[in-house]
């Protein structure tokens, strides 16, 4: 797409969409929304970038290797957070029982491992959406 207006508007809006996505991910435990919704918003900002500026430029922003790594280690991150419980002598995926500080209710840092897990899931969902989009688009061309 070679539309000048579209490109300028996208250049202004897309960073904010991306940041808003991260906001939704990080505030999943104190407000509506959460890691899945936020992850999809982050993924969409990259998808919109690739549709407007062309798939090659999108690929430069997020190379295949980065996507593979976020895919794999984003999923592994969940498991590692689960192992915290086992290391502390509690069952798998324990949070309060593992002795993690739950913090003040309503604060961004509250919830112990929940916000950390949520961040991992969010990044993972974003990279999934982008990977699906790239794979299908490259097959079309």
């Amino acid at each position: 797409m070679r539309d000048f207006i579209l490109k300028r508007v996208a250049a202004i809006i897309l960073p904010f969409i991306c940041i808003y996505g991260f906001y939704v991910i990080l505030h999943g435990h104190v407000s509506p929304g959460g890691s899945f919704a936020g992850g999809i918003i982050v993924g969409l900002s990259f998808i919109a970038y690739s549709t407007i500026y062309g798939i090659e430029k999108g690929r430069v922003k997020l190379p295949e290797k980065v996507l593979t790594w976020t895919e794999s280690y984003g999923t592994l991150w969940y498991g590692i957070m689960g192992m915290v419980g086992i290391v502390k002598g509690a069952p798998f995926l324990a949070n309060k029982l593992a002795g993690v500080d739950l913090g003040a209710p309503g604060a961004l840092s509250s919830g112990g491992l929940i916000s950390l897990i949520g961040l991992g899931v969010g990044i993972r969902v974003a990279s999934t959406m982008v990977t699906l989009f790239f794979t299908m688009m490259e097959e079309e061309s």
Binding site: G34, G82, L93, T128
Partner: protein
């Protein structure tokens, strides 16, 4: 083909009738006394803040009480990505990389 579709329609209407009877028999919609609002839901509503320290109870369930389900949910996404990639990336294209 037309006859087969009509047959399916009849079958579906029959099944719909059965399911409507079931829908009528289910606990009345939106009543606080339904079996679904038992001690399980009560604990989630009343003690989520003490147990997990988060305000959003849905997040508390998704990422703490039933975190094991959510782990498999991310695995479903992971599986779907791999399946899509293995289906669409042909042999030739990858040989070129």
């Amino acid at each position: 083909m037309r006859i087969r579709n009509l047959l399916f329609l009849l079958l579906a209407l029959l099944a719909a009738y059965g399911m409507l009877i079931v829908a009528a028999e289910l606990p009345p919609y939106g009543m606080p006394a339904n079996p679904i609002h038992n001690q399980v839901a009560e604990r989630y509503v009343n003690k989520a803040l003490d147990d997990t320290g988060v305000l959003n109870m849905v997040t508390a369930i998704v990422l703490d009480y039933r975190a094991y389900d959510t782990m498999f949910e991310t695995i479903v996404l992971f599986t779907a990505t791999l399946a899509v990639v293995i289906t669409l990336k042909s042999r030739k294209r990858e040989g070129e990389q």
